[in-house]
């Protein structure tokens, strides 16, 4: 683990140096990111501020410690922790096909590969290239040894050309058709199915906020947290709240000035009002108004009572329109039903509550079952942390660092 801890120290230190560069260095990067991505400047600044707090030597080392294999039993042998310490295990070349929906969204995967001592090949999204390129450039320049383990491009073919050995594993985000798209982009042998290829696929749509204990109107801090969780990144992040489960019907809040004020405050603060208006969202609002469906419309955001068929087996939990949030009257048992249905559970990224301690595991009446696709106890996260995940958070229950470390065992077995 010492080598990985040493890498964590380097990465944490260099990250802090890079992100605390003078404004004269960072501003052009932010401006470039705004022009190429469609992210608002406020979204980018929010993310950078959060990542500045979340990533440092201590948090990266803590992540390494919690991810480090405690000895592994394979089909033929037991691999002791010392194996990973030896540095003799093969360094995997992992290609990350990064997303572009929120700023620097692939950073966690990149750090995971570097911490594990792997070779990072990053296919950067054109919507999210400016900051990532700058960070990678900085790292290569300041840490030449580490730099030899890095390759990146916004162009798949150029990335493949720059590599001197085959890609051994893939991390990408998407659905069933994404792997086919990637195979086409990278010229991967299509005869080799996903089952034979090592891939880490992120599959989720959005997150759930539970407000079930709110017998009275939400407090202003809670409203702010709720607004932030829904609004930031124009609702396009998988941690963005796409559905609210509340003890109260939406009509309880429909004419609440406090609710609208909180939304407006976040919209103005995050300058979401500067982003283009979604006409699909306008049409959805028109439908709600015409059919007298309870809804709240504040600038770019529509919260509406969920369609009556939401709980039907084949129905999506979330609107297909970003920035349209469903509100459903219910409680934790409703969320549990969703988690029991694999098709619905697979759509859910995270579950938030105003008071997550109410749902702590240990047999509490309010405990919510683990997400079936995680295979681990799902934690109910604090609503206020919805857009502030720690670096060791586990999207889809997958710890990318542990996953990359495990690659060496797979290659040893094969």
């Amino acid at each position: 683990m010492d080598n990985a801890l040493a890498r964590a120290e380097i990465l944490g230190r260099r990250w802090q140096e890079w992100i605390h560069q003078p404004s004269a260095e960072m501003e052009p990067l932010i401006e470039a990111q705004v022009s190429q991505s469609g992210h608002t400047r406020a979204d980018i600044v929010f993310q950078l501020k959060h990542l500045a707090e979340a990533i440092n030597v201590e948090t990266l080392q803590a992540w390494v410690r919690q991810s480090w294999p405690q000895g592994v039993r394979t089909s033929s042998e037991r691999i002791e922790p010392e194996y990973f310490e030896s540095g003799e295990y093969p360094s995997s070349l992992v290609c990350c096909v990064h997303a572009g929906n929120i700023p620097m969204v692939g950073l966690q995967d990149m750090l995971a590969i570097c911490l594990a001592g792997g070779f990072y090949a990053g296919k950067l999204s054109r919507r999210d290239a400016s900051l990532m390129q700058s960070w990678l450039d900085y790292l290569r320049h300041t840490e030449p040894d580490l730099g030899q383990q890095l390759a990146w491009s916004t162009d798949a073919a150029a990335l493949v050309q720059s590599l001197d050995r085959p890609i051994e594993a893939w991390i990408f985000t998407g659905n069933e058709s994404t792997w086919e798209t990637i195979q086409g982009q990278f010229g991967v042998n299509t005869g080799q199915g996903e089952s034979q290829t090592t891939t880490l696929v992120r599959r989720a749509e959005a997150s759930v906020a539970m407000l079930e204990d709110q017998q009275a109107a939400l407090q202003s801090s809670e409203l702010k947290a709720l607004a932030e969780s829904m609004l930031l990144y124009q609702g396009k992040g998988c941690r963005s709240v796409g559905i609210i489960v509340s003890a109260q019907p939406l009509s309880f809040y429909q004419h609440s000035c406090a609710m609208v004020d909180s939304m407006e405050a976040v919209i103005i603060e995050s300058r979401q009002d500067k982003s283009p208006v979604s006409e699909e969202r306008v049409m959805e609002r028109g439908w709600c108004a015409a059919h007298q469906i309870p809804h709240i419309w504040v600038d770019h955001l529509l919260i509406r009572e969920a369609p009556h068929y939401l709980n039907e087996p084949n129905e999506s939990l979330f609107s297909t329109i970003p920035g349209v949030i469903y509100w459903v009257q219910g409680d934790a048992s409703m969320v549990e039903q969703w988690l029991d249905d694999p098709r619905k559970a697979a759509q859910i990224q995270s579950i938030y509550a105003v008071n997550p301690r109410d749902y702590a595991s240990g047999g509490s009446e309010k405990s919510v079952k683990s997400l079936p696709n995680l295979g681990i106890e799902a934690e109910i996260e604090a609503l206020e942390h919805a857009q502030r995940p720690p670096i060791d958070w586990t999207p889809d229950g997958q710890n990318p660092l542990a996953w990359v470390l495990n690659l060496s065992i797979e290659s040893r077995e094969s």
Binding site: H98, N101, A156, E205, P307
Partner: protein, 349 residues
């Protein structure tokens, strides 16, 4: 007394029928009309519905048909329901007058095929599986066509019956009208093999059917939920080979539970709506805007026949429009959620 349906059918042009439709919805302040009023408040440059041209008319999301039953009359004569195959909840469409639906459907169909029947063709509406969905609009339309054509027309619901019927009369041409999946299943044969040669053919030695000269196959689409998905080109090839008719005699119909009118394609590519309907094509990301002809967008429908429900709505189909108003339907819009982790990979390389 002249009914609204009579007036609609008596209209000599789409524009006249459309105006009648607008007048009815405005006077009733229907859900669809209130939607238009709401939308016009959001649209720059328009003060009243009367000032909005058809191309910019705000279209209702088609999901509205799933969310509620839109009906001006409190007692619709018929509520059509979609098969609900692509999701668990059906669309529902309230027909104020079933006679309107039947007369509009028959008129639209006969406008294209009257001459064929005058020349001695017979009609077979092939509706396997639809008997389980008595609220199917396709079943209702087929029934109306059969009633119109009387003794030269029939409806058939099993492949065995279709096979027997085709064998019994192999001299007069046939207009065989059915859902694509049923027709493909028929030529696939009872074992469901993909080869044409395993069809319900008259003898086990025959590679395929050879329908009488002049026969026409009309497919209604609807392969999406079949055990395999086919392009329209491949579908037409299979039907042409399987029934032994030239490709030029494989036609297509475009209709749906939410529409009173239909559209027909005589070349298998371009669909022309019947008299009471018009198509518009809307921008994929800004669906209040129309796209120029020749550009891909989302298909919108203006259907005056929907005078009781919602005459203006935006489908989830992709389409290109020609200058004469005909559209090419390119398949279903990818509705994978444009958010979260499914929204992530650049597709541009």
């Amino acid at each position: 007394m002249t009914t609204l349906a009579d007036q609609l059918l008596a209209a000599t042009s789409f524009d006249d029928a459309w105006q009648l439709c607008l007048k009815e919805h405005a006077s009733q302040r229907s859900t669809a009309w209130r939607y238009v009023e709401e939308m016009i408040r959001s649209m720059e440059g328009f003060q009243t519905p009367a000032s909005v041209p058809n191309e910019q008319w705000p279209l209702m999301p088609i999901s509205a048909f799933r969310e509620t039953l839109m009906s001006i009359t409190e007692t619709p004569e018929m509520i059509f329901r979609s098969s609900g195959t692509s999701s668990s909840v059906s669309s529902q469409h309230a027909m104020g007058s079933l006679a309107l639906y039947h007369r509009a459907s028959v008129e639209g169909f006969m406008a294209h095929y009257r001459e064929v029947f005058q020349n001695g063709a017979r009609f077979i509406g092939y509706v396997p599986g639809y008997i389980d969905n008595p609220a199917s609009s396709l079943l209702s339309m087929m029934g109306a066509i059969v009633a119109e054509l009387e003794d030269v027309a029939m409806m058939i619901s099993t492949p065995q019956e279709l096979s027997q019927t085709l064998q019994e009369d192999s001299s007069s041409p046939v207009v065989l009208f059915g859902a694509a999946f049923g027709l493909v299943d028929f030529v696939d044969g009872p074992d469901g093999e993909l080869s044409v040669g395993n069809s319900y053919s008259p003898t086990s030695d025959d590679a395929s059917w050879q329908l009488p000269s002049g026969s026409i196959i009309i497919e209604t689409g609807g392969m999406k939920t079949h055990r395999r998905e086919l392009s329209r080109e491949r579908l037409h090839h299979l039907l042409s080979e399987g029934f032994g008719v030239p490709r030029s005699h494989i036609h297509s119909e475009y209709g749906m539970c939410e529409m009173t009118s239909q559209a027909y394609s005589m070349d298998g590519v371009w669909f022309t709506p019947t008299r009471l309907a018009r198509f518009v094509v809307k921008d994929l990301t800004a669906p209040l805007q129309s796209v120029p002809h020749g550009f891909v967008g989302r298909l919108g429908v203006l259907d005056a026949g929907n005078i009781n429900s919602c005459p203006w709505f935006l489908t989830d189909d992709l389409a290109i429009q020609r200058d004469d108003g005909a559209v090419q339907v390119l398949g279903r819009r990818e509705k994978s959620v444009a958010r979260g982790c499914n929204y992530m990979v650049d597709v541009d390389g």
